[in-house]
Symmetry: C2
């Protein structure tokens, strides 16, 4: 494989000149630049990024730490994150933690060793002490006690919106259905928005919550159906909770939307080919991803950010369940 | 941040000794090793992987080049690929090409510059000339004219299996529905298996194919429904084709499975919460992913592989459409 020396020798210039052409730094006469570029092409020389990042002690690599790329919400997010990184020539390293704290810690350790330029983290575990303030980090949906920028959908407004849409569809007795995580997650504001709006509208409501994760799905939904048979409007914390509830309710003869209106949160159904198409609070996934990366770039550049939390507006997407 | 020098000085040893401890190479007395390890811990020293890969001129990074991580088949595949890489301490770089040849070429160029240890490629474009034989590559579903190892599901057997299952469900006039790519893809054997088995069983059948990608979805399915109203068993090249057909057929009053039995290919539905749950030829995604990475490791180690194509057995997964 050709080296920078070979290029310099073929072009009849000094190595420094080749380097200036490659890095677009310093002035090089147009004729010289052309000679160097021709030599690069003829020799099929590829500047070595490994060597470059050694010199700069910083790689153009950003790590995405998430529970599982297999989940449709995360894979859509990863898609746009990679696209936004690529605009600036950054690459994406993918790290599936499986949601396990020990795997997250292992990855954070590994990321320090690799000197990635930055980290985008989606975690629901308590790994506060291990998140270094040396490496620029932007978190999605989750606050850390350290001052780490967080990008999230406007969960509170999403909860309010769900109540208004359930009411508009004719529901009179509402239920929030979800789980509570041990650490502070922005997703909890979905319930707060629900409670706030139901109160403001003077609607009757219940909150049905269990600790996260749900270990016995069967009892989780059965208990809800048994205890709250008078509910005619359900706001589920995610689309998966909504779909699970609808499937189990149907087996008990409860029809959606005739008997109960249901609204989820996320918007994981790209196509309207599988039913029911859920009525849902759609996460602004693309905008969340691009905002996250733009903020990360600002941090990498050493800039101070205006805020700690960036909440992106959500919208209601009607489906077949309201 | 602590350097290797700081560690050596605190432990009272030479830098080379620290290096031997970190890399587990050469003999170090147990007591010395303990002193070095204590110094590493006290100083929170992280060996610098960037510097190490500069020295070795090879990074422990594997690139995954695919059309879009957003597609459920690819995100499941990426999940297991990352998991298998991680077992050997390798990291995954994710590259979405959007299926565009120019983006694929751009990524291949970038990958050469970064000196990744290997590439896993999923492409349906003709980028033969750009696939270097310098970098170990394993391809999924796609043959290159160069000798590049390919891992795929057993598409031919999958096509045969679909015919047998459609016949078992009572279908008498079968149709294959799909597209044809310009370059040679293993996925084409789905049709070949279908044709072979329908012939062997003496069943009446038609093949309905258009060039890939389908630009006008509406006419693609309308034309099929119009021209082949006597068909009572459809084998679609992917689950998405199957679901699209079922949705459009329903609007014309064609009931699945009562009037037409349908089998797809892939197995993208993880949950049985959205309907119809497709009867499908399930790709052995996990085994394909792990096989791909194990073969890639063999190539990275310079070993010769026994074969050029590795076909993993498939199975029929019954759903609600047969």
């Amino acid at each position: 494989m050709a080296s920078i020396k070979d290029v310099a020798s073929l072009a009849g210039v000094a190595i420094g000149t080749v380097s200036r052409v490659i890095n677009n730094s310093g002035s090089v006469k147009p004729a010289t630049r052309r000679r160097v570029e021709e030599a690069i092409e003829r020799l099929q020389y590829y500047p070595n990024e490994v060597a470059r990042s050694f010199k700069m002690q910083k790689s153009k690599m950003v790590a995405l730490l998430l529970p599982s790329i297999w989940h449709p919400f995360f894979s859509e997010l990863a898609y746009y994150i990679e696209d936004e990184l690529d605009r600036e020539g950054y690459k994406l390293m993918l790290c599936n933690s499986g949601g396990k704290p020990e795997k997250e810690l292992y990855y954070l350790d590994m990321l320090k060793q690799n000197k990635v330029a930055g980290i985008v983290g989606i975690t629901y575990n308590d790994i506060d002490d291990s998140v270094s303030t040396d490496i620029p980090v932007v978190s999605i949906d989750r606050h850390f006690s350290k001052q780490i920028t967080c990008v999230t959908s406007d969960n509170f407004e999403g909860g309010r919106l769900a109540v208004r849409e359930l009411a508009k569809a004719g529901a009179r007795k509402l239920a929030f259905m979800g789980t509570v995580t041990k650490v502070h997650s922005e997703t909890m504001y979905r319930k707060d928005g629900f409670v706030h709006e139901a109160g403001a509208l003077g609607l009757d409501y219940v909150v049905y919550e269990k600790p996260d994760p749900v270990t016995d799905e069967e009892s989780f939904y059965e208990e809800f159906i048994r205890q709250h048979s008078d509910v005619d409007g359900v706001f589920a914390i995610t689309d998966m909770f909504a779909a699970n509830y609808i499937e189990r309710a149907a087996k008990r003869g409860i029809r959606v939307p005739e008997d109960v209106k249901v609204i989820g949160y996320d918007g994981i159904q790209d196509h309207r080919l599988f039913h029911p198409v859920l009525s849902t609070i759609r996460q602004p996934v693309e905008e969340m991803a691009r905002t996250t990366i733009r903020l990360l770039f600002q941090k990498i550049a050493g800039e101070n950010l205006e805020r700690e939390t960036y909440r992106i507006p959500v919208a209601f997407r009607p489906g077949e369940t309201t």
